[in-house]
Subunit: 329 residues, 2 copies
């Protein structure tokens, strides 16, 4: 295949460039076409992958909007430019999330007719397809019309990525009954109930859903403003992470416990793998003119490798074109 490569921001993340390189090598060995973007001196050439040079790195704590203007030769900005210029098919960054978002938006641009891009993250659901939550942080304050469009984009993503034909789109709020929530939710629910938005994207309106429904089989897509979504995301990551830490520690409390834990390892490791935030796949920024995957700074090599494969498959499925044709104008 002569597909374009995934541009991997080799310098972004808590364990860059080592993990980024390892993930790129692993993905390449599994058939992915990968282009590393970063400082050639720091990346070396043992990996055997092509490198696109970028001399700067946006610090993890830099202000995104100003950083994109200031670090013009940064690895993440260059990644977005490679997608814009048709040199790369897509990009993945585990660096400063805001900077990855701002680079993608400023360099690739929005899909025409899409008011605001949104960060979509699949939450694991036991025995079912994940529930995609959006917006997980691109827009701290939202208009009701944007949330309806997030629902459309989430429905397209749910179908393209997880094969769901009629994804149920719910509005994340604080009670199942109609009329519950803040004014943004109430106005969004009114727009969703009025209908018409679901036809083209193949969604089914799923009504109000609560936080406790995110990880059970209630809806395939949940929409909320980016403030709420980001707080929920971080709370779940922290809360589930803290629960797993406690359980793991208790299982090593004595030699007797550790011996029993060793027997359980093959049963529990797959569960921990699904639940551990450092192993989860990457977020996808929906609504920009390119596939932009955003990974945790602490991502494992495995998670980054998965993210590269997801980027390739989203390009192959034409997610951007589908969003343009179905949701855009």
């Amino acid at each position: 295949m002569s597909t374009l490569p995934v541009a991997v921001d080799a310098m972004g993340g808590d364990h860059a460039p080592e993990r980024n390189i390892a993930a790129a090598v692993a993905a390449a060995s599994e058939g992915a076409n990968v282009l590393l973007v970063g400082d050639p001196d720091r990346l070396g050439d043992d990996h055997g992958l092509p490198v696109h040079p970028a001399s700067e790195v946006i610090p993890m704590d830099a202000d995104p909007a100003t950083a994109v203007r200031r670090y013009k030769d940064s690895s993440v900005v260059r990644c977005a430019e490679l997608v814009r210029d048709g040199v790369a098919s897509s990009m993945l960054s585990a660096g400063n999330t805001g900077a990855a978002m701002a680079s993608s938006l400023l360099r690739m641009g929005r899909i025409k007719g899409i008011a605001r891009p949104a960060i979509a993250i699949p939450f694991p659901v036991d025995g079912r397809h994940p529930c995609v939550l959006l917006d997980c942080g691109a827009n701290a304050e939202c208009q009701p019309e944007w949330l309806v469009q997030f629902g459309q984009m989430g429905a397209v993503y749910s179908r393209v990525r997880f094969g769901i034909d009629q994804p149920r789109v719910g509005v994340l709020t604080i009670g199942e009954e109609a009329g519950k929530g803040n004014s943004l939710v109430k106005e969004t629910v009114a727009l969703m109930e009025a209908g018409g938005w679901e036809d083209a994207c193949g969604a089914v309106y799923g009504g109000n859903i609560e936080g406790r429904d995110l990880m059970v089989d209630v809806a395939e897509v949940a929409v909320c403003d980016g403030f709420t979504g980001n707080v929920v995301l971080k709370s779940l990551e922290g809360g589930v992470g803290s629960a797993l830490d406690r359980i793991r520690a208790a299982m090593q409390a004595t030699p007797e416990a550790a011996a029993a834990a060793a027997i359980l390892e093959p049963y529990l490791d797959p569960v921990f793998d699904v639940l551990d935030v450092n192993n989860t796949g990457s977020a996808l920024l929906l609504g920009v003119r390119g596939v932009s995957m955003i990974s945790h700074g602490s991502s494992s090599v495995h998670a980054l490798t998965r993210g590269i494969h997801t980027a390739e498959s989203m390009v192959a499925e034409g997610i951007v074109e589908q969003l343009r044709d179905i949701v855009g104008s």
Copy 2:
């Protein structure tokens, strides 16, 4: 001691009245003074506890404000009246949360000078005192001044309940850096940074905190609007619950796994106990003129028993008087 009894809404909750009675009996056997409130015919008298009659029950899904007006002889409304009238020291309900809140607010009234009551919930922190999050759902839309006052009330609660002398009060938002968040958060942070609010309540301003910080040792109090707090609460309950379910299921997957799991039981049960939402203590509605504990509908007998003891201890510590003197006007 001649303390007044805790009025227990015997009819509210998914397993009422059986669990409520069992919890009341258990708490009484441990020294608590308990008054059951509900339908005497349904409660019987095997329990040996005093009963205050109430002929109605507010359904779990009824609209709170109208239900309190309509079901004037409901168990939860009668509980709040018993506190107002000085017959009970405090109340506990596992029924319709909104109705418990509305009954408390409408019958007991607000503490003078407190703009809005807030639901305070302690989140478990490994090896440390819990982090109290408020508001967990009393006010879907908030003003920045209310959030500052939630911080003051949370600080008093943290000191009175958990003995924290200088609780760190943080603002829940979507980034650690100043300037992150929605407009409510930004205005709240400006007020908190201006200072003056911490002196009387003994708090220390803890800056921005993220969702992932709630269950680690970063702050003793976190404030947010009731929409965000309720979504976070439900998400954490659902997410941690789903994680525990998966882990428990994997540990019973084969006889070999189950045998190892049996060895681990004494190590893991205390951890599951802390993390299981049905075992957690009750929420406290801060800012009304009485101690009103609100429990999950699905609470275990153990959790309800704890809630009754917490109600008694909050009365003994004078939480309402302290909130009045320190935060009220």
